[in-house]
């Protein structure tokens, strides 16, 4: 339980991020001015210099609840979830679609929420880790990750679990993978298939073997 004077891990991280941003600001400014010296690219017209960033109304159905937002058009789905809806289970890792920490399920499919604009998902259904299970009633995949110790620091885990849930749906739907020997046959949820299909989720602690065990255990259960 959190008392009024308790400092949360999130507060500390936020303060740390602000400090880092302040430290780096001069470097960033130099880099920008250095780039400003040569002639502007043809696409950099005056239209981009609008003093007020463009905004848009966005309605997302997140974990079953419709949430109406007014967002800067630049807001990624990831930032809409974390910064505007305060669903901080979804993590920002690389923010460039390389690590998979931001994986959520949109309209039944896993995607990198960092590489999609919220405004492009107006009306879409989004499932995040908070929508899969609760501490009292874990999703079977969450329980399997706990049982198999499928994490160490836990930062990549929400993305791993969202991805894993969707991977098993993809296998059930008959979607082949790079390691499927026969393209025209129905794929099996083997360890090789799981490893290949989970390659977009990086775990720097290296819990991979336990992650594969957790996923293949759930895959082996009757649906």
């Amino acid at each position: 339980m959190q008392g009024p004077n308790d400092v949360t891990r999130r507060d500390v991280l936020a303060a740390g991020a602000a400090t880092v941003a302040g430290t780096l600001a001069p470097t960033g400014a130099q880099a920008q001015s250095g780039q400003g010296a040569p002639p502007a690219a043809p696409s950099a017209s005056g239209a981009g210099a609008s003093p007020q960033p463009a905004r848009a109304a966005v309605s997302l159905k997140v974990n079953g609840t419709v949430r109406d937002l007014d967002l800067d058009t630049r807001t990624t789905l990831l930032d809409a979830l974390r910064e505007h809806l305060h669903l901080t289970g979804t993590k920002k890792g690389c923010d460039h679609g390389q690590c998979g920490a931001c994986t959520v399920i949109v309209e039944g499919r896993r995607i990198n929420s960092c590489l999609s604009l919220a405004v492009m998902h107006d009306g879409d259904s989004v499932t995040t880790i908070e929508g899969l299970g609760t501490p009292e009633a874990l999703h079977p995949m969450q329980a399997a990750f706990v049982a198999h110790d499928g994490y160490q620091c836990g930062y990549c885990t929400p993305g791993q679990i969202c991805s894993a849930v969707a991977v098993l749906d993809e296998i059930k739907a008959g979607i082949p993978s790079h390691v499927s020997a026969d393209l025209t046959a129905a794929p099996e949820p083997s360890a090789d298939e799981v490893r290949e299909r989970m390659s977009g989720n990086i775990c720097r602690c290296g819990a991979y073997s336990n992650i594969v065990e957790a996923i293949t255990e759930i895959a082996g259960r009757p649906a």
């Binding site: 960033p53 800067d72 460039h96 998979g100 990198n112 492009m120 739907a173 008959g174 390659s199 989720n201």
Partner: protein, 316 residues
């Protein structure tokens, strides 16, 4: 990221018109490459025309016995289509060897063709790059060029095209259908879509400003045995150092194209004529004009050996 205005297009022609009318406008579909580049301000569109709502997401059979693939068909859906898996396996294999499951769920057929190079000097805005900032020079020429092109490059640019799918499309003689801002439609061979860098590496395709890809059409199936063999630094989720797409017929004839070696998918008719004679003459013909760097000359033997592996598998 620079601020931009945003609209959802009502029709392909309206999308093309909107993109042509607004200076600095870009189309967005999957967004998996464009948003990455926008975060780095390598791309800085002033206006985004979202084409996702256009009904360009179906795969239909053509009167000629081929397939017409809507521009918005996601990479996952194209790779998983039963007709593609059965008749155009090289295309399924190429798609499945690229990116991650999450990215393939978003990335589209047209967007995959139009993705930009992953040359690290293009991505690092502190480095010179003629593609990103014309006239600034090429950081890769005297830099670290292990991933770069060995054929078809120029003194201005040695970047590669990163797509696996495009290599299969080139092998299959796919045709790209487009609509222009004035509503006119045209089709062009995918062979003519991508350009070699020459003196203007910033111009990557034959598309006019505002021209929108609406579909990619495959001719009737070729038969034969299909291969897409990709060599990369790790087993999954990495760009090709070298890839070989091939369709080999029972009599040893066939087609072959390379990825990872040039600014566009690399296919040479004279090389295909050598297929019955084995990997070496094919590789020699494909790479006759090769000018590798000290960092990537390994790609020349790698092409031949990968090709040899494919042909050995084809013989069974």
């Amino acid at each position: 990221m620079k601020s931009f205005t945003y609209e959802k297009a009502a029709s392909p022609a309206a999308a093309a018109d909107a993109a042509a009318r607004t200076e600095g406008a870009k189309f967005i579909a999957g967004g998996t490459n464009l948003l990455d580049l926008m975060k780095l301000e390598i791309e800085a569109p002033t206006h985004l025309v979202d084409v996702n709502g256009l009904a360009l997401d179906t795969i239909e059979e053509t009167p000629a016995g081929g397939l017409r693939i809507g521009a918005l068909v996601r990479n996952t859906d194209l790779a998983a289509d039963n007709r593609v898996r059965r008749d155009y396996a090289v295309l399924s294999r190429a798609l499945l060897s690229g990116a991650s499951g999450q990215l393939r769920n978003k990335a589209t057929t047209a967007g995959n063709l139009l993705q930009r190079t992953r040359c690290p000097y293009f991505y690092d805005t502190d480095q010179p790059c003629n593609k990103r900032r014309p006239g600034s020079g090429c950081g890769a020429l005297d830099g670290y060029s292990r991933q770069h092109a060995v054929v078809g490059a120029s003194a201005a640019c040695i970047a590669t095209h990163p797509s696996d799918m495009a290599v299969a499309m080139r092998l299959l003689d796919a045709t790209v259908e487009t609509v222009r801002p004035d509503g006119e439609t045209r089709s062009l061979p995918v062979a003519d879509l991508h350009r070699l860098p020459g003196d203007t590496p910033e111009i990557e395709t034959a598309l006019a400003p505002g021209e929108l890809i609406t579909a990619v059409t495959l001719p009737a199936p070729l038969g034969g045995t299909h291969f897409y063999r990709k060599v990369r630094d790790r087993a999954s989720y990495a760009f090709a150092l070298v890839s070989v797409a091939a369709v080999v017929q029972a009599d040893g004839t066939g087609r072959v194209a390379l990825g990872g070696v040039a600014h566009k998918p690399w296919r040479i008719a004279a090389a295909e004529a050598e297929l019955p004679r084995g990997a070496k003459p094919v590789a020699d013909a494909l790479l006759a004009q090769a000018r590798p760097t000290k960092d990537n000359d390994f790609k020349l033997p790698l092409v031949q050996r990968t090709l040899a592996a494919v042909l050995a598998e084809a013989r069974g």
